[in-house]
Symmetry: C2
Subunit: 439 residues, 2 copies
């Protein structure tokens, strides 16, 4: 039976053009994260099953993880998300680390689910977290950074919107304002999280299934539906409008506005899937009509580090997947053309051995140079260079070696430059720098 | 029960200082690989079990892989090496790709084995392959590149040596010169591969166990032992010395010498663990007395792409793990001190909100800046900056905001610079560039 040529189902091979695009995206992510003082960390892709059972949504652990028993009978998981891992790492050095602690990572994450547009079985995800700030400065910084990343990719504020809500406000609304039990409230917030994906009658009957007959009879469901229609903090009922969580949200929207971020809105149905969020939560939505979906999200989760048995630590963070980012960039025509790094294709006409010295010299001078090594006709070797989109051709023959003068031919323009190796290198490096400055 | 604080056994957490070191190593790997015209690719960490059963050494698949059944009943493996994967990817686009094809990757690989110095259960491995060159130019280029990588890390040729052998020469020696059967030859080459780790009497009795009584009686074992003592191609028996494989090796050693690479030697016991090698094989050994072991290796494996049912493709490649590289750099004092990327620590004295504009401006100007956000005493905030080794402190108070003049204090030297935000940014960027040019 022939061996399979395709990658594992729902996962991706990255051929060089795909990898260059990924490197471009990761590079921008790193650049902005570091501009805000975040430092990169990493951890093994395998984790013990226990740390997910503690706090993550149940569905993920029970139905969607790649979990198995290793040869030493340990229960392990290919990590489905990074938050439990980063909490573990911070907890392990709770005393030594200094706060505020700013960390980011771009881990590969796996979930066993049906592959579909924007959701594969694996993706790479920018994870950014700030530890040790109880004040809303943390949320402010994180959201400003997310906005800065969008701008760095060339997006403008018409292309996306930042939606905010507060888990505390939701608890206050469901439990204290409407009067649901805390169990009902927890189940309802999971349901509300999926509201946008359901039609209205289905959503209402799902609510009816979740709450007690008594709650249904006393009009709580109607009160909830009315509440979910509110799209402005000022229209909340007085008891909620004056609650700290609503005032915090209002202040946050004002501060973001002051920072020039006006594509924000209050979204009372925004929950985030995980139960571990404790304060402000946010998501960024693509505004493109063909892709009107959440691209990334995060918020405050003050309890997770403490779950590892150390003194709790206020934390705000977000995760942003590479698949949703690539979809966004493509849809909004923000994907750059990224060519191969290789600058010179060397064709050796006569003496393979004697040609090695000038090749080594050009590399020493910092040029990226590939050698053909074949004895094919010159025309065929040039075809290969063209197919690989390598900009310059360097032909090394008897004369070039004798005179120590070489000619670089720019394949697209057919322009030629002749000179010593250093002169040629200076020329290519100057062009390279010009191109970089343009980007 | 408290949750575990440690990473999965035999695997590593990368705290920011560890990650910086990793990024330094990966950065040099990428830099040199691209200088030789190699392009980066990647693939999923999960692969189907089948592609390993085809060609890899049996021990790895049966005893050392992380393999399991997924929720869809597929047999999957967390990849223990990259070679089967890259062969699969090339085979899948055998016709479209243009040759010579130069690819590299830095995948994370997993093996279930007892953790020990230089061998964990996971590592990251530079994989470099060149496809489509039957000529020994491919081996030459690959070995020159490996040497160039060592030099780029600051190593000199006294610190390591490059050992070469040929699988064809070994087959010629064991089968045609000595007269072992091809089964005996295969088993013997696996044994010879472990020779350096065994004492001599154990090695000899292991040979006796492997070969037929007839072979033992006819003096073949003595002939083998005499052969394994030869450390110079010129001392080989005539029938081997004049074999193409020996002549190729001799030419290779001469060409490497001409390229200034003189720390090479012929090692007749060098086999490489995997059965898929078909021509020249090489390994690089650390010469440090405390770490006299193989650090990396590779060679020619012309059969693997063809095993996927497409036209075969000559291939030369090598793999180099991050753990052995880090050990080497540490032992030879080649590890640089790599500080945090963050350049400025901002302390906000009075108005948090009004302080955001100059902060945003400095980031726009390209500086990496972290904000403290706490209301702690100035001295405590400075302590945090020092603990994080951030070079500059920026204090933003009422006067700075009013006059639009700011002061940067270099924490180590206590030197201060006062000026507009652009002036400060120019100063820091100039220093940054000076530092880069020194490296």
């Amino acid at each position: 039976m022939p061996l399979p040529l395709q990658p594992y189902k729902g996962a991706r091979d990255f051929y060089p053009p795909d990898k260059r695009l990924q490197k471009y995206m990761f590079g921008k992510w790193r650049e902005v994260a570091e501009r805000y003082g975040y430092e990169e960390y990493d951890a093994p892709i395998l984790e013990s099953l226990e740390i997910y059972q503690a706090k993550t949504g149940d569905e993920i652990v029970n139905e969607q993880t790649y979990s198995f028993e290793d040869r030493g009978k340990r229960q392990v998981v290919i990590r489905p998300e990074m938050t439990p891992t980063v909490s573990r790492m911070v907890a392990a050095r709770r005393q030594e680390l200094s706060y505020p602690l700013r960390w980011y990572s771009i881990p590969n994450l796996w979930r066993y689910e049906r592959p579909q547009r924007g959701r594969l079985r694996e993706h790479w995800q920018l994870n950014v977290d700030i530890f040790g700030i109880a004040d809303s400065g943390a949320e402010y910084e994180i959201i400003v950074m997310v906005d800065d990343i969008f701008k760095t990719f060339g997006a403008d504020s018409k292309m996306y919107e930042i939606r905010l809500n507060s888990r505390q406000l939701i608890d206050q609304a469901l439990i204290n304002y409407i009067g649901f039990s805390s169990n009902e409230s927890r189940a309802l917030s999971h349901l509300i999280d999926r509201k946008a994906k359901m039609d209205k009658s289905k959503f209402i009957s799902a609510i009816d299934d979740l709450v007690s007959p008594k709650a249904r009879a006393s009009g709580k469901v109607e009160k909830l539906l009315a509440l979910l229609d509110i799209d402005n903090l000022d229209n909340l009922p007085a008891m909620l409008k004056l609650h700290d969580s609503a005032l915090d949200l209002k202040k946050m929207l004002r501060q973001l506005n002051q920072a020039g971020i006006k594509n924000t809105l209050f979204d009372i149905s925004l929950m985030r899937g995980f139960d571990y969020y404790t304060g402000i939560v946010f998501e960024v939505y693509d505004r493109h009509p063909e892709n009107n979906r959440s691209m990334l999200g995060g918020g405050r989760y003050d309890g997770l580090v403490g779950a590892f048995g150390v003194t709790p630590l206020p934390t705000v963070g977000f995760g942003w997947g590479d698949v949703t980012l690539a979809n966004f960039l493509e849809l909004h025509h923000l994907l750059p053309q990224i060519k191969t790094e290789t600058e010179i294709y060397a064709v050796l006409l006569d003496d393979l051995e004697k040609s090695q010295a000038p090749i080594a010299k050009l590399r020493q001078l910092g040029l990226d140079l590939a050698v053909d090594w074949s004895n094919r006709k010159l025309g065929d070797q040039i075809k290969t260079a063209n197919k690989k989109s390598i900009p310059y051709l360097l032909v090394i023959g008897r004369n070039e070696l004798k005179n120590n003068k070489f000619t670089l031919k720019h394949l697209e323009s057919s322009q030629e430059i002749t000179g010593s190796l250093s002169e040629l290198a200076n020329h290519v490096i100057e062009e390279r720098n010009n191109l970089k400055n343009k980007q």
